[in-house]
Structure formats: structure tokens, C-alpha cells
């Protein structure tokens, strides 16, 4: 059936399974260690983590007319002290402010002092912002809540429902074994994505849930597409299971990855999101190209090994006459008619290689050599030759009569 049965492919399947297991187990271990330490299962970006903030407060006049000078002063100090902020916020009003959000490891004491000195000089008698009122304050922020109620639980439930829905569709469409393979492919792609994001410690925000959801969807798509191709190719003699959907899945993967690389390169702020999405796309491609066929092959092999005793063999033939009829029938069927049909088909195939032509030729052959009819006729002939029981009985009686008649004739002759 499949090209997944040869040793080379089996080894590849084994290797892929081994690597995947290692990745998933490693991810679970890493996630547990970091989770227990309080760092977080995933590497949370500053948005979801504890941070430090630097608030530069000023009166409205300064904010309205000299905001750029204040911002430049801040950027210069940050640059000279080699600190970078993650997010910037503003407030405009009677009391205006700019807030800079830094990573929790940032040392803001020096930054605060430098800025205070700088603004003191700028707002002094000789300064360019003379008479303005600017203060600097550093604070620690400890993140307490950032996920909606039941966010993770409902997300996991949604994933389970997705896999179940995909399984039901594939099972109805292709069969239970294929349905299992498609569901497995979906799960495989999603788990691989989660594991790789965890292991690579890519900084995540709440947007990572979109990446995982997209991974589940794309894995389902690649898995069902592969299974569609497997089902179609099973009808032909040369069934190429492994890699049968490469031609379509690889372009999807390539184009989406190129798009994400462009997005990450041009809009640098979303680079981590783009990188995790690329991981999701690659994982879904692996699920479709390798995961589904490598699981389906053994399922199909197991299904093909179903015991022959379950197959229908026909009624038991016990009577001698029936056996005789059946044997003759089989002999007629095995004889030249079959060879003639095969020869005619080959000839026809040589003459008209196109499918339609072959079909036509087969039809013609069927008309020329109606095997069934011939067999039936032959059976009738055989039946005539090997008469029915009643006929046999009659023949036996006739023979008996003949025998007795002969005996009767012989006795007078003897006398």
C-alpha cells in the first residue's frame, strides 16, 4: 500500500517521533522549573511581567510647547547610561507626564538622579526651560493580573473541542483510522508549537494565544489535506503516502513564513510575535507532511492484517455432483477465456494508451468475450453434460434398466 513500510522511512518516522518526544519532555521540564521558581512557564515580556517605571511630570505649558526637549533630554540620559525602555506612555492635562516602562532588572536610581540634575539645569535661570516645573519619580510595578477570567481553561477546552471536531469530520469523511491520524496531526502540530516557544524562551505577550490557536487551525488544515491525498492515492496501485502532500503544504509554509519574516523585519516591534508564528507554521507543516502519514501507515497495516477467516468464502460444497459441477466451472473459468481477455486487454492497451480509449477497448473486449455469459453458458453446458441429481438418478435407473435388460437377454441366450 504505502511507501511508509520500507526501512528508511520507518527510521525517519522513528527519528521524528523521538525528536518530538524529546522536545515536548524538555519543554515540560523547562516550563516546570521556571514556573516553580516564579519566573513563569513562558518567558513573559515586560508587558506581562514586573517592571520599573520612570515618570517625568511637568506642567501643561511644558508639555504643549517643549515636549520634544524633555523627550530628547530623557533619551540622551538613557543612551548615556545604556538603559532602554519597553513602553512609553503620556498624560496631558493640568499635570502632564511621560512614563517610561523598563525591564524589572533595570537600575533606575542613577537614571533618576541624572534626569533630576539635567532638568534642574534646564529649568534654572539660565536654562532653556526656565521657570518650568519638571519632576522625576521612579517606581516598581508588580504585575498582578493580566488574563481574562478562565482564559487559559477556556482556551484549553477550545483546543480539545477543535481536535474532537476535526476527528469527527475526518472520521465521517475518510474512516475512523484516518480520522485518528488527522486528529493526531492537529494535536502534534499544536504541541510542537507550544514546546518550541517554551524552549526557545521567546518573550511572549497575550498575543501568544493567537499563535497557538493559529497553530491548531493550520495543523488541522495540513493534516486533513494530507489525508485527502492519501485517500485519493489509495485508489491507485502506486500509493505514495509519505510526502504526498508536500507539493501544496510546502508552498503554504514557505509563503506564510516569507510574509511573517517581512512583517517582523519591517515592523521590528512585532518580531517576537512573527518568530513564534513562523514556528507555528513550520510545526503545522511537519504535522501534515510527516506526522499524519507516519501515524497512518501502521494503522493501515494493522487494518490490512485482518484475519482471512472473516472473509466470505461461499457455501460449503459437500455433494459429489455439486463438487463436480463447481470444479468444471472453475476449470472453464481458468481456461483460455481469461487468457483471451488478458491478451485482448494488452492488445487494446498497446493500441490506445489513453484512459478513455482503454475503457472503450475494455468495453469492446467485454462485448467480444462476455466471460460471465460464456461461463454461464459453459456452466449450462456442464450442467447438461453433468446432469442434475434427478437426471443422474434417472440415468442410474436407465442404466439399471439397461443392465437388467441385458441380463434378461443374456439369460435366454445362455439357455
Amino acid at each position: 500500500m504505502s511507501n511508509c513500510q520500507n526501512k528508511m522511512v520507518k527510521r525517519c518516522a522513528g527519528l521524528v517521533a523521538l525528536v518530538t518526544c524529546i522536545l515536548v519532555i524538555a519543554a515540560a521540564v523547562v516550563g516546570t522549573i521556571f514556573g516553580v521558581k516564579g519566573i513563569g512557564v513562558f518567558n513573559r515580556s515586560a508587558v506581562l511581567d514586573d517592571v520599573k517605571t520612570l515618570t517625568v511630570s511637568m506642567n501643561q505649558h511644558v508639555y504643549t510647547n517643549n515636549l520634544d526637549k524633555v523627550e530628547d533630554a530623557c533619551e540622551n540620559v538613557f543612551g548615556s547610561l545604556n538603559v532602554t525602555y519597553e513602553i512609553k506612555g503620556e498624560m496631558s492635562g493640568d499635570e502632564s507626564e511621560i512614563i517610561y516602562v523598563f525591564d524589572k532588572a533595570a537600575n533606575l536610581e542613577t537614571v533618576e538622579k541624572e534626569l533630576e540634575n539635567k532638568f534642574e539645569a534646564m529649568t534654572g535661570d539660565q536654562g532653556e526651560l526656565k521657570g518650568s516645573f519638571i519632576t522625576v519619580a521612579a517606581n516598581d510595578e508588580k504585575a498582578v493580573e493580566y488574563l481574562a477570567k478562565n482564559y487559559v481553561l477556556r482556551g484549553v477546552i477550545a483546543g480539545v473541542v477543535l481536535i474532537a471536531a476535526v476527528y469527527v469530520y475526518a472520521a465521517i469523511r475518510f474512516g475512523i483510522g484516518k480520522g485518528v491520524s488527522v486528529a493526531f496531526g492537529t494535536l502534534y502540530g499544536t504541541l510542537l508549537t507550544v514546546a518550541l516557544v517554551l524552549l526557545t524562551r521567546i518573550p511572549v505577550t497575550a498575543s501568544i494565544s493567537y499563535v497557538f490557536a493559529a497553530a491548531a487551525l493550520m495543523s488541522a488544515v495540513t493534516s486533513v489535506f494530507t489525508m485527502n491525498k492519501i485517500a485519493a492515492s489509495e485508489k491507485s496501485e502506486s500509493c505514495n503516502v509519505c510526502g504526498c502532500a508536500c507539493k501544496e503544504i510546502l508552498p503554504i509554509c514557505a509563503f506564510v513564513c516569507v510574509g511573517l519574516i517581512l512583517i517582523g523585519a519591517i515592523a521590528w516591534g512585532v518580531k517576537w510575535f512573527a518568530l513564534s508564528a513562523i514556528i507555528a507554521v513550520i510545526a503545522s507543516a511537519v504535522a501534515g507532511i510527516m506526522g499524519v502519514p507516519f501515524l497512518y501507515a501502521p494503522i493501515k497495516a494493522a487494518a490490512d492484517k485482518k484475519p482471512e477467516k472473516d472473509a466470505y468464502v461461499g457455501a460449503a460444497k459437500t455433494s459429489t455432483k455439486a463438487k463436480k459441477v463447481f470444479t468444471k466451472k472453475e476449470a472453464v473459468k481458468a481456461e483460455p477465456v481469461e487468457e483471451t481477455v488478458e491478451e485482448t486487454v494488452e492488445e487494446a492497451a498497446e493500441e490506445a494508451p489513453a484512459e478513455e480509449t482503454v475503457e472503450e477497448t475494455v468495453e469492446e473486449v467485454a462485448e467480444e468475450a462476455p466471460v460471465e455469459e460464456t461461463v454461464e453458458e459453459t456452466v449450462e453446458e456442464v450442467a447438461e453434460e453433468a446432469p442434475a441429481e434427478e437426471t443422474v438418478e434417472e440415468t442410474v435407473e436407465e442404466v439399471a434398466e439397461e443392465v437388467s435388460a441385458e441380463e434378461a437377454t443374456e439369460e435366454p441366450a445362455a439357455e
Binding site: V47, G89, E90, M91, G93, D94, E95, I99, A138, N139, D140, E141, K142, A143, E145, Y146, L147, A148, K149, Y151, R154, I157, A158, L162, A165, Y169, R173, T186, T205, A206, S207, S209, Y210, V211, A213, A216, L217, M218, A220, V221, V224, M227, N228, E248, P251, F255, V256, V258, G259, L260, L262, I263, A265, I266, A267, W268, G269, V270, F273, A277
Partner: protein, 495 residues
């Protein structure tokens, strides 16, 4: 289809697509001679915090001020405060923040912790896709919410300001008839009178619906039958009031307008366009009903104290993403035309149609329901690529059929027939998956809706639209083999 008819239809179709495309993506500009401004569809989106930032505010308990506020005080007033990290705590022992020895009061710490937990629960129940509650220097709160909760009659700023104000309340829930507490009269606690609060909408009005327990139902029934009484001393009608702390949230009239036949109270609160505010109020009411009040009060957040923060991914990130997507779009169009010839042109039409459908659905099937996030961008990109790759899949099947010697018409029919189930499987599974993801909350729910839009648009483009355009273009083409970039067998033989 006749050649002339095809050409006319294609010209009309091209004009329509170009116009719609322009409406969707042409950047904003001032309309000459007017004060109005042209805005494309893609500028109408509500955006998530990754793309557009949001609003934030601080909750300072009474007796706690920021360093900026401290520096604004006169020096004699500054002496009343004690420094704690970046905050200043009032020394007045009556306020309960600091003990007489200058240490922070344990009661204050406990009340602050309880209030923090409850405020977190309120924001969690609000269902923001992206938000954050943090503790600032141990004794203040910073709340960040996305700038996305817009409605027809309310801006994102107003919505955020309302939410900040409401969720900061820490008073207890009370029911009063005049000046008397109903729970004292009935000798029941409030949560034994009221079961829960919810939102009810009818006739474009959003109501706060109050469900009472059996005790409460009896009280309401009596109130409705006897009607609101007039206080002889004050000469004022005493209606039933729901209060949080000292503030009256709403009053219940003793009429059919407010009290239904089943003794459920429905008080009109806002128009349906401001349903967000009603949802906020209901979350607050349920919070104080279930958890009571706290012995700590936060300073009121005024309009001018609501701050904005820029997009987390950086300023102008959305424009940069649009540029990247435009490059991808053009690259896909060029690639399909180069690879598939005339069929690639029909794919190009299909691609642009997909862009228009998704962009418009993102803008108009929202009504404040969901915002555009990085997930929306990702699903748009995936859908765009899927449309083109499925078209390539169909093209490959048509090419295979043609190589078997069939006529082009039967090759096209055969190609579509053989690939139809594969394409249907892909979109059916994707749609089922998106529907399943609707079980998720906030961001995942939004993502699922947007994925469904992309999937339905992609399915339409692949299963129907490309084929229609292909029929028209094929009818109009002179050499059908050249249209598909196929090499005819006779040409091969000639060579």
C-alpha cells in the same frame, strides 16, 4: 460564454474591484475644497494594545500620594507625609495608613490586599483581550486597558474613563427605602435578598436586571402593590434605591416599567449603544454583592488623570505591517501570473477580492464587538496564502488532465472536479476549527471570529469566484493553451 460578453463583464468587474480596493486601502487625505477627510476602510478598525496602545490610570488609596504630587505640596504639608519607595504615606493615624510609630498599619495592608484582589477580578470579568493590573510600590495600583472599547456614541477614552471610575469603588452594596436600610428592616443580608445582576436589552435600551431571592421577591411584590410611599416629613416619594457606599446607582420605580410580572426588576440604564457601561456596572454590582465592601477607599479618577500609552509593538507599527502585507500581496499576484499565465490573472482577481472582503468584514462586522490584533493580521496572511496555494493546486490538476490528452474544457472541468473535495476538506476543517475556538474567551474568541471571516472569504474565492473569473477570461482569450501556459502536443511534434 461569448467573447464580447466576457470582455464587457471583465471590464465591469475590474472597475468594481478597483473602486472597492481604493475604498479599502487608499491612505487618508484631505478632500480639496472641504474640511472633510477621506478615510479608507482600514483606518476604521478598533485596534488592540499591540497595535494601538491604550489607557492607564492609578488608584491611590486615601492617604497615599505619588512623588510628583508630594513635590507639588508646600513644605509644611510635605511634613505630614512619610516616604515609602516612590510613594508618600500620610502620617495621620486616624486615616489608618500608618501607625503612630511610623510603620504601615496591618489593617491597611490587609484591606489593600483584599481590595486589590477584588479589583483584579472585576477587570478579569470585563473580558479585555489585553490588560494589566499592577501594584505600584506596595500601596497603589496601576491599571492598563486597551483603547478598543468604542461604540457608536462613546469613544474609547470615555469607555476607559468610565471603567476606571466604576471599578475603583469599594463601598458595600445597600438597599434603601428612603433613608432606611431595607436589609435591616427585613433582617436579612443583601446577598440573601438579591440573587444577582445581569444585562438585559430590549428596544435599543440596555437594562440592569436584578434577580431577587424569595425574600426579595416578596419585598418587591409588596413594594409594587403598595406603591412608593411619601415621607410625611420631607414630602418626598420614597423609592427603592440600590447604593454602593454612599452613592445611589439606580432607583426602582413601583411600576410595570421596572417590575415585571415575575417580580424581576429591569431598570433602564443606558441606550444599547452604550451597553459597555451597563456591563461595567453589572460586573461592579455582582462584585460588591458577592464580596461586600472594603475598609479602604481609592481616590476618584478624574478625566485628566487618565493616561495614554503607545502601541506595545512601537509607534506606527500598523502602517509598517500594512506595508509588509502589501509587499506580500503584490509578490503573490506577480508569482501566480508568471507561473500560471491567464489562470494566474484570475487568481490575482481572486486575491484582491479576498483582500476587499476581509478588510470590509473586519471593519463592519464589529460594532465594537472585537478589535484588530496581531492574530487578525496572522489569519489574514494565512488565508491569503491558502487562497493562492489552493488555486495553484487546481492549476496543477488542470495541467495534469490536459497532459492526458483531454480537451481544455474537459481538462478544466476534470481538474476542478478532482480537486474540489480536497479544497472543501481544507476549508470545512478550518471553519470547524474556528467555530470550536469560539469556546475561548476575550482574545481567543475574537481571533476565532476573525478566522471565520478569513476562512469563509477564502472558500468563496477558491470554490466559486476564481472559477467564474476564469470562465470569463478563458472565453475572452484567443489561444486557450497559451492562456494556461500549456504546451500543445502538436507544438511538441512540430519541434
Amino acid at each position: 460564454m461569448g467573447k464580447k460578453k466576457s470582455i464587457v463583464l471583465m471590464v465591469l468587474l475590474t472597475i468594481v474591484i478597483v473602486v472597492l480596493c481604493a475604498i479599502t486601502v487608499v491612505p487618508s487625505f484631505a478632500i480639496p475644497g472641504t474640511v472633510k477627510k477621506w478615510n479608507p476602510v482600514i483606518s476604521m478598525y478598533d485596534l488592540g494594545t499591540d497595535l494601538d496602545g491604550g489607557y492607564y490610570a492609578y488608584y491611590y488609596p486615601n492617604g497615599v500620594i505619588s512623588e510628583a504630587e508630594y513635590k507639588n505640596l508646600e513644605s509644611e504639608d510635605q511634613a505630614d507625609y512619610q516616604n515609602h519607595k516612590g510613594l508618600y504615606l500620610k502620617k495621620d493615624a486616624e486615616l489608618g495608613v500608618l501607625n503612630k510609630d511610623g510603620t504601615v498599619s496591618k489593617d491597611f495592608e490587609e484591606n489593600f490586599a483584599k481590595a486589590t484582589a477584588e479589583i483584579c477580578a472585576r477587570y478579569s470579568a470585563k473580558g479585555y483581550s489585553d490588560y494589566r493590573v499592577s501594584i505600584v510600590d506596595d500601596y497603589a495600583l496601576a491599571i492598563y486597558v486597551p483603547a478598543s472599547e468604542t461604540t457608536e456614541s462613546q469613544s474609547a477614552f470615555q469607555s476607559a474613563y468610565t471603567t476606571f471610575g466604576q471599578f475603583a469603588k469599594t463601598g458595600a452594596l445597600e438597599i434603601k427605602m428612603g433613608d432606611a436600610l431595607v436589609e435591616e428592616r427585613l433582617e436579612y443580608e443583601v446577598d440573601e435578598i438579591i440573587k444577582d445582576f445581569s444585562v438585559y436589552t430590549k428596544n435599543e435600551v440596555a437594562f440592569v436586571q436584578v434577580k431577587f431571592t424569595d425574600v426579595g421577591k416578596e419585598m418587591i411584590k409588596t413594594y409594587k402593590e403598595e406603591g412608593a410611599k411619601t415621607n410625611e416629613e420631607t414630602n418626598q416619594t420614597e423609592t427603592l434605591k440600590i447604593l454602593i457606599g454612599e452613592e445611589t446607582v439606580f432607583e426602582i420605580q413601583a411600576s410595570d416599567e421596572h417590575i415585571t410580572s415575575k417580580n424581576v426588576v429591569r431598570v433602564p440604564f443606558r441606550y444599547e449603544t452604550e451597553k459597555n457601561d451597563v456591563e461595567t456596572m453589572v460586573i461592579l454590582l455582582n462584585s460588591v454583592l458577592n464580596n461586600g465592601g472594603f475598609d479602604i477607599e481609592f481616590n476618584t479618577v478624574s478625566n485628566s488623570q487618565v493616561r495614554t500609552y503607545a502601541a506595545i509593538a512601537g509607534e506606527n507599527v500598523l502602517n509598517l505591517i500594512y506595508i509588509a502585507l502589501a509587499v506580500v500581496l503584490v509578490a503573490l499576484i506577480v508569482f501566480t501570473i508568471v507561473k500560471m499565465g491567464g489562470f494566474g490573472v484570475s487568481c490575482a482577481y481572486s486575491t484582491v477580492s479576498y483582500l476587499i472582503i476581509v478588510a470590509m468584514c473586519y471593519a463592519f462586522i464589529s460594532g465594537g464587538v472585537f478589535e484588530i490584533t496581531l492574530g487578525s493580521i496572522l489569519m489574514f496572511l494565512v488565508g491569503l496564502v491558502l487562497v493562492n496555494v489552493m488555486n495553484m493546486y487546481v492549476y496543477g490538476a488542470i495541467k495534469h488532465e490536459a497532459e492526458l490528452g483531454k480537451t481544455l474544457e474537459s481538462a478544466v472541468k476534470g481538474g476542478y472536479r478532482k480537486t474540489m473535495m480536497g479544497v472543501i476538506d481544507v476549508y470545512a476543517v478550518a471553519a470547524l476549527g474556528a467555530v470550536a475556538l469560539l469556546v475561548g474567551v476575550s482574545g481567543v474568541y475574537t481571533f476565532a471570529l476573525q478566522a471565520l471571516i478569513c476562512i469563509v472569504a477564502g472558500a468563496f474565492c477558491n470554490l466559486l469566484w476564481t472559477r467564474v473569473i476564469n470562465v470569463m477570461l478563458l472565453s475572452a482569450s484567443k489561444d486557450k493553451y497559451k492562456y494556461f501556459r500549456f504546451v500543445r502536443k502538436e507544438d511538441d511534434d512540430d519541434e
